[in-house]
Every structure is written in structure tokens, then in C-alpha cells.
Amino acid sequence: MLDGRSQVKRRIGARLWLSGGWLALLVLLAIFAPFLAPKDPLAQDLFTSRLPPFWEKGAEAGYWLGSDSLGRDVLSRIIYGSRVALSVALVAGLLTCLIGSALGLIAGYFRGWADLLISRLIDIWMAFPPVLFSILLIAVLGTGLESIIIAIVVIDWTRFARVVRAEAMTQGAMDYVDSARVAGSTRLRTMLTEILPNVLPTIGALLTLEMGIAVIVEAILSFVNLSLSTDYPTWGGMIAEGRISVHQAWWVLVFPLVALFLTVLSFSQLGEGLKDRFDPVLR
């Protein structure tokens, strides 16, 4: 039994280190992109179009991961693309978390008409296919980074609201909440000082998951060509272009896809790992 526990702990440790390591690397790439990118990510050169990565025949020095159909350096575009991916993950993730958790807390603890209204909204939101809803919102809001972030917040707040509402309801029924109220704490104060701290670990795990989802949504929107302008390097935009020319230049699709895959996997593994770490049974 003891042995099994330490094994589980070790596995959690490795998971946290690997995913945390990739995300830390990504943050560094995003911050120092101008110094790390070997080429200008926007520079087109039709004489160097569709160069293969460095180990293949016909590769050219300086284009480590090859170039796309317009002769733009794939590695530099991936490095600059991490800026978009990370800003969307951070800003959209945090905003979604804040709004969704607040609504969930209010619905779950105050109940009454607020709960009725918020639950009804969640039901309506669940009746939309999220991808279609986000494409629709981008069509309304126009393209650009802010629109993507707003669309993600508007669509995904229910993820937090649903879970936090249920947790707040369970916590709200417990004795310690009643004793806080008897001790003279107002309802708002009770919600913030008694309920919220107990729901925080769940919110944290959801937040890292949401960051991964945000990165994917951005990629999907660039893929449908509704994200930023097509010039600015985003992983989704690169994937969309790579999908078209996959038979002529596989590297244009593969490398951004790997970056996206690792990032999404890291966010969710980080969430799972943190959840396990804060699990009192395993600690």
C-alpha cells in the first residue's frame, strides 16, 4: 500500500515537471522571441519557398524547420506564434475563471432567483455547439486578439459556473458555514471567506484546463480563418496553411501541430497533477 502511494507520487512529480518545463520554455520563447527567432517571421521570399527541415535533402542553412509556401521561416513563426497562444491562454483563461466562478459562487451559495437565472442561462448555453457559437461571435465582433478573448469568455464561463455552483452548494450545507453565520458574518463575507477558499483548489485545476482549451479555440478560429490577420504568425493559421499543402510540404503542418499538442497536453497534465497534489488523501 505504502509502496503504491510513493509510486503514484513519483508519477505525479514527473508529470508536473515535464508539463511545467514545456510551459516555462514556451514563456521564455514568447518573451525573448525577437532574440531567439532566427529570421523575421513575416519576411516572404519566393526563392526559398517550401524548403524542407535541416536533416532533409535540399534544406538551406538558417531554415532549421523549413519554410512555408511563401518562403517564411517555420521555426521563427512557431516562436512568434507562442506569443498569441500564451496571451490568449492567460488572459482568456483568467477572465473566464473570474466571471464563471463568481456566477457559480453566487448561484450555489445565495440560491433563490439568482440561481434560477444563472442555471437557466447555463442550460441555454449548453444547447449550442461551442465551436459554432465561437465562430458566430467572431463574425459579430470582428477578427483580432480581443475578439477571440471575448468569445472564449462568453462561451466558456459555464464550465466554471457549473462546477463551482455544485461545490458551493455542498459547502454551503456544512456546519462550519452555519457557525460562521451564527458568529455574525454577513452572507457576502461568508461566501468570500468560508466558501471560496474551499472551492479554490477545484477552480485552480479548472483554470489550467481552461488555458489549454483557450489555446485550442484560438487555433480552431485561425484554422477557420477568423482569428488574427493571416500574416501574423499563429499556430492555428500555420496549421490551416499546412493542411492545404500537406502533400507537398508536411513540415508546415507537423511542427506547429507538435507545439500545439505539447502545449495543450501540458496545461491539462499540470491541472491533473495540481489536483492530485492538493488531494489530502495522497498528500
Binding site: R120, L121, D123, I124, M126, A127, F128, P129, P130, V131, L132, I135, L136, L137, A139, V140, G142, G212, I213, I216, A219, I220, F223, V224, I239, R243, V246, H247, W250, L253, V254, L257, L260, F261, V264, L265, F267, S268, Q269, E272
Partner: protein, 323 residues
């Protein structure tokens, strides 16, 4: 249920009417006069207030009239119903894949519990869960479209095939008519999108089913059948599975709506001629009546699936059956 649908209709109606870009102007040649624009706007009812438009639209919907598509100039209902079979066949095929893959993984994991095999299955489940269908679709394109090109990466059916089918349920009709060449072609097109949609669901299923199988295996009646001398396979398949499967079934229902939602981008990725692909085109073309119709159709499908899940659950759960 009706309230949810009405709410969904109102949200979409309001959202798409804020869309910049006048669809009427896009329809007409550049030299059209304001009079032409006004006349066509009146024809589509776009000159009235949002509230009036909504009442007119709702009245039509209740009579089965969803309006006319602006970009395709055909009744929205005909267009959407023409595409619906493609999306339904894809979703059901993906569900079938998910149940098969998830079931096999859960049963293997339970049979070989506390071995390396179970560890490997847990890792596969973990990765499959955290990566969404869109990325699986792209990976499959690389795998079975480029590296080892055995399946078609775009479309629903090879256009040169002589079909002459009377419905759009091509897969079902080809089976009924014994046109197995068509069935094979459809499956070769459907394989990758269906698999991409099924992978996350298969992982969820396998995880939950394995968990509940393990819990059931500790119950007294299972121990009793063990002492009776039944083999481990018999104990798992004939005794434990029946009781362990209920929570999984409820979960399938909820997750199936997520899967249907996923068809939108997967159909786009594989240029599959379904409802979701049509919806994205409708958004790009600012085709308001078509967007409204398709979104409401999706909302209706989700509601029906949820209802069907509740009913199946009541049928299968002995405690609710006699209530």
C-alpha cells in the same frame, strides 16, 4: 426544455443581427441602387425591428417554415434536413467507435488490473482525454492521409460514384440496397473524422467503466460467483459488467452531445458535407436565416439526446423501472 430552446433561439437571433456587413448588399451587384437594396431587404423582412422579425420568424418555425437561405436561395429547412443525415451518420459512427474502443480498453484494463497493461491503458486514457478532437483529426490526416495514405481525407463520398439514392442516409441506404462498393467508399471517407471524434469520448468511457467495474468486483455477489468456481472472464463479463455499466450509460449521453458539437470543426477539417460545415459557410456568407435554422436544429438535437438518455436510464435502472 421548450424554455431552453426558446432562450437559445432568442440568443442566436439577437447575436446574428448585430453582425456587421449587410447580407443584402452582398447579394446584389455593385451598381445596385438604394431602391433595390430596400426592396430586397423588405422581401427578406430585414427592414422590420428585431422584435417584429423574431415574432414573424417564430410564427414561421411553428408552422415548419424556417425561411429562405440568402446565399443559397432555397428553403432553410430543406437545406438543413438535406445535410442532417450526413452529420447523424458521422456522429453515430463515432459513438460506435467510442463504445467499442472504450469498452475494450476498460475490459482489458480490468482483466489485467495492477499490471503494466493497466498502467499503459491509464496513460493512453490520460493523453486521449486531454487532447481534443480537432488535434486528433489533424494527427490522423498525417498518419492515414500522408504517411500511409489508405483513407480519404476529404469529402463524404467519391463524386464520380453513380448513386441515384432516394434518401441522404447514404450509409444506411447503401447497406439496404446492397451497394457494398458505395458502403466501402463511405466508410473510407468516414473513418478518420469518426475516429477523431471518438477518441476523447472513448477515453472518458474507458476510465469510468474501469472504475465502476473495479468497485463492482468488490461486492459480495461477485465474490460469491467466484467461489462458485466461475472463471475471471465470466465474472467480469456476465456478473460485474451488468451492474457497472449504468453510470457509464448516463455519461455517454452527456458526452454524446459534446461529440455532436465537435462535428462542426471536424466536418470542416475533413471537408465532410454535413450540417456543421454548412453552418460555418453560412456564418462566413452572413446568411442569417440559415445560421438561425442550423443552430436551432443543433439545439433541438441536443435536447432530444438528453431526453433519450433520461428515458433509457429509467428503462435500465430497475429502481426506476417500477416506479
Amino acid at each position: 426544455m421548450a424554455v431552453t430552446l426558446l432562450g437559445a433561439a432568442i440568443v442566436v437571433f439577437v447575436v446574428i443581427r448585430v453582425v456587421p456587413g449587410n447580407p443584402i448588399v452582398m447579394m446584389l451587384p455593385p451598381n445596385a441602387t438604394q431602391v433595390d437594396i430596400d426592396r430586397l431587404s423588405a422581401l427578406y423582412g430585414l427592414d422590420k425591428s428585431i422584435f417584429e422579425q423574431f415574432v414573424i420568424w417564430l410564427g414561421g418555425v411553428l408552422k415548419g417554415d424556417f425561411g429562405t437561405s440568402i446565399s443559397l436561395r432555397q428553403p432553410v429547412l430543406d437545406l438543413a434536413l438535406g445535410r442532417l443525415p450526413a452529420t447523424l451518420e458521422l456522429s453515430l459512427m463515432a459513438l460506435l467507435f467510442a463504445v467499442l474502443i472504450g469498452g475494450v480498453l476498460a475490459l482489458t484494463g480490468t482483466r489485467r488490473r495492477q499490471t503494466r497493461t493497466e498502467g499503459a491503458i491509464d496513460i493512453v486514457n490520460g493523453i486521449s482525454l486531454s487532447v481534443p478532437d480537432f488535434l486528433w483529426g489533424l494527427l490522423l490526416i498525417l498518419l492515414f492521409g500522408v504517411l500511409w495514405p489508405v483513407f480519404h481525407i476529404s469529402g463524404r463520398v467519391t463524386p464520380s460514384l453513380d448513386l441515384n439514392f432516394s434518401t441522404n442516409f447514404l450509409l444506411i441506404e447503401s447497406l439496404l440496397r446492397l451497394r457494398l462498393d458505395v458502403t466501402g467508399d463511405l466508410l473510407a471517407h468516414m473513418f478518420m473524422p469518426a475516429l477523431a471524434l471518438s477518441i476523447p469520448l472513448a477515453a472518458v468511457l474507458s476510465q469510468l467503466l474501469k472504475q465502476s467495474l473495479k468497485e463492482t468486483l468488490h461486492l459480495d455477489y461477485v465474490t460469491l460467483s467466484r467461489t462458485k468456481g466461475y472463471s475471471e472472464n465470466h465474472v467480469i463479463l456476465k456478473e460485474a459488467l451488468r451492474n457497472a455499466i449504468l453510470p457509464t450509460l448516463t455519461l455517454i449521453g452527456v458526452q454524446f452531445t459534446f461529440l455532436i458539437g465537435g462535428t462542426v470543426i471536424i466536418e470542416r477539417l475533413f471537408s465532410y458535407e454535413g450540417l456543421g460545415n454548412m453552418a460555418i459557410d453560412a456564418v462566413i456568407n452572413r446568411d442569417l436565416p440559415l445560421i438561425q435554422g442550423i443552430v436551432i436544429l443543433f439545439a433541438l438535437i441536443f435536447t432530444i439526446v438528453n431526453l433519450a438518455v433520461d428515458m433509457t436510464y429509467a428503462l435500465l435502472n430497475p429502481r426506476l423501472r417500477h416506479a
